[in-house]
Amino acid sequence: MTAADTVLNVSHLSLSSSVQKNLVSDVSFSIAPGECLGLVGESGSGKTITLRSILGILPPGIVLTGGSIEKHGSCAMIFQNPVSALDPLCPVVSQLVEVIRCHQKMSRESALVQADELLRMLDLPVSLERLDRYPGQLSGGQCQRIMIAIALACRPDLLLCDEPTTALDVTVQKQIIAVLRNLQHTLEFSMLFVTHNLAVASALCTSLCVMKQGTVVEKGDTKSVLSRPQTEYTKLLIRSVLPVPECGKEE
C-alpha cells in the first residue's frame, strides 16, 4: 500500500515518558480510505496514547521518541467519557454551532440549521434545539451523540474513537455502535477504533491490530484474527469476551 492511498500511516512509532521508557515501541499500521481499524488490547497496552499521539494531545511528560505519523486529510476524535469532553459551562448546541462556524465560514443562522440536521441525524431529542441545555443536564449517551455530531461537523476523513462506548451502559453502547456504523456507511470516513472489548471491535472494524505492552502482537483483517488467532495473547483476549448465556438451550 502506498502512502497516497492511505488516510493515516503510522510507522515505527515509539513513545516514552521520563519514568518509563518505551511506553509504545515500534508500532506501525496504516488505514485506507473507508477502512475501520480496531486497536485492541488490555488497559495499559498503549492504545490510547498511540491514538493521542496522532492528534498531538499527549499528556504532559510523554514524548515521541521515534517513528513518524503521516496524516492525509482531517481528523476528529471521540472521547471515552463524553460528559467530561464537553465544556461544562457552555450549552451543547452552542458548542456544536461554534465548531460548524469554525470549519465552514457561515452565519450563525445557517450554522444552526446545519446543527439541527446533525442532531436529527444522530436521533437526538428536539428539546436540545433550545439553546439552554448544558452537558450536565444530558445523559452519557446523549453527550456521546453530541460529541459525534461535533466530530462530524469537522467533516473528518478519519474519525478517531477512544473507547467511546466504555463509559456507557450496554444498551446505549449498542446504539452508539449502530450510529457509528451507519454514519460510516453514509459518509464514508475511515475510523480508528480503540477498545479493550473485542466484541465491540468485531462488530465495527474491518481489520484489527492487537497491542500488548506497547507493541503490536498481531495484525490482520477481523475475520482471520478472530477465527485463527496466531498468538496466545489474542486467544486469551478472545476467551475473555463474556458469552451471553442462552436460555432454554442446555448443553
Partner: protein, 271 residues
C-alpha cells in the same frame, strides 16, 4: 431565574441589600442630608449624636453623618476604579500562563514573583512622593501590584482546566487558541475570579482607609473614611463618634462585600 437564585441564597441577598443601601445613600447624599459636608458651625462643635446631628459633629462643627456619606462616594469609587485594570490584566495573564504553559508560563510567573516581592505600602508612599498624595497614587500602585492575586488564582485554575479532557477535545476539533481561551476557558475561570475580586475589594478598601489615616491617601478636603478616623483620634477619649462612625462604615462595607463573595461561591459551588 437569576433573581430566584439570589433570593434563595441568604448571604448573597443580605450582602447585596447592604451594599445597595450604602451605594444609594452615597449617591443620594446631597438629597438625604440637610447639611453641606464642608459647612462649619463653630457654635456646635464636638456634639454627640442627637436628633439634629444623627452622628454628631466634629471639631469644626461639621455634620459627621453627611461627611460619612460623601466619604462613601470617594471610597467606593476608588475601590471600584482601582480594581478594574488589575482584575482584567490578572485574568488575561493568568489564562495565558495556564493555557499555553511552557515559556509563557515561565515569563509570567517571573513577573508575578517580582511584583509579589514589592512591599505594597512602601510602593504607595514612594509613588505618593513622586506624584503627590491623592487617588492617582492608589490607582498607579494597584495597577502595578493588584493583578498578581488574580493572575495566580486564574493561572492555577486554568492549568487545572487545561488538563481536563474537554480542553483537549476543543483542540482536536481545530478551534484556535484564542477561541478556546475567550469562548471556553474565560467562562470557566470567571466565577472564581469574581469571588477573589470581592475579597480583594475588601482589602483594597482597608488599604485606602489606612492610607487616608496615614495622610497619603485621599487628599483633604475630599472626605474619606480614613482621614475621618485619623482626624478623630485626637478626641477619641471625649468624642468617640468621630472615629467609631467611619470605622463602622468600613466594617459594614467589608461585611457586605464578603457576604456577596460567600453567596456567589455557594451558588457556583452548587452548580
Amino acid at each position: 431565574m437569576t433573581l430566584k437564585r439570589l433570593l434563595k441564597t441568604p448571604s448573597l441577598l443580605a450582602g447585596t441589600v447592604m451594599l445597595l443601601l450604602l451605594v444609594c445613600a452615597a449617591f443620594l447624599a446631597p438629597y438625604i442630608s440637610p447639611y453641606d459636608y464642608t459647612r462649619q458651625d463653630l457654635f456646635a462643635v464636638l456634639q454627640p449624636p442627637s436628633a439634629v446631628h444623627l452622628m454628631g459633629t466634629d471639631q469644626l462643627g461639621r455634620d459627621v453623618c453627611t461627611r460619612l456619606l460623601y466619604a462613601a462616594r470617594t471610597d467606593l469609587k476608588v475601590m471600584v476604579l482601582a480594581e478594574i485594570v488589575p482584575f482584567c490584566t490578572g485574568i488575561f495573564l493568568g489564562m495565558l500562563a495556564g493555557y499555553y504553559g511552557k515559556w509563557v508560563d515561565t515569563v509570567i510567573t517571573f513577573f508575578t514573583d517580582i511584583f509579589i516581592a514589592f512591599p505594597f505600602y512602601l510602593t504607595v508612599i514612594i509613588i505618593a512622593f513622586v506624584t503627590g498624595s491623592g487617588e492617582h497614587g492608589i490607582y498607579i500602585t494597584f495597577m502595578l501590584v493588584g493583578w498578581i492575586v488574580f493572575a495566580k488564582v486564574v493561572k492555577g485554575l486554568s492549568s487545572a482546566l487545561c488538563s481536563e479532557e474537554w480542553i483537549a477535545a476543543c483542540k482536536t476539533i481545530g478551534l484556535p487558541g484564542y477561541r478556546i481561551i475567550w469562548g471556553h476557558l474565560f467562562v470557566n475561570v470567571l466565577p472564581q475570579a469574581v469571588i477573589v475580586l470581592m475579597t480583594d475589594m475588601v482589602s483594597l478598601l482597608v488599604t485606602v482607609v489606612t492610607l487616608g489615616f496615614l495622610g497619603i491617601g485621599i487628599a483633604p478636603p475630599v472626605p474619606d473614611w480614613g482621614t475621618m478616623i485619623s482626624d478623630g483620634k485626637t478626641f477619641i477619649a471625649t468624642s468617640w463618634w468621630l472615629s467609631v462612625m467611619p470605622g463602622c462604615a468600613v466594617v459594614y462595607t467589608g461585611i457586605a462585600l464578603s457576604l456577596i463573595g460567600d453567596g456567589l461561591a455557594d451558588i457556583w459551588r452548587g452548580k
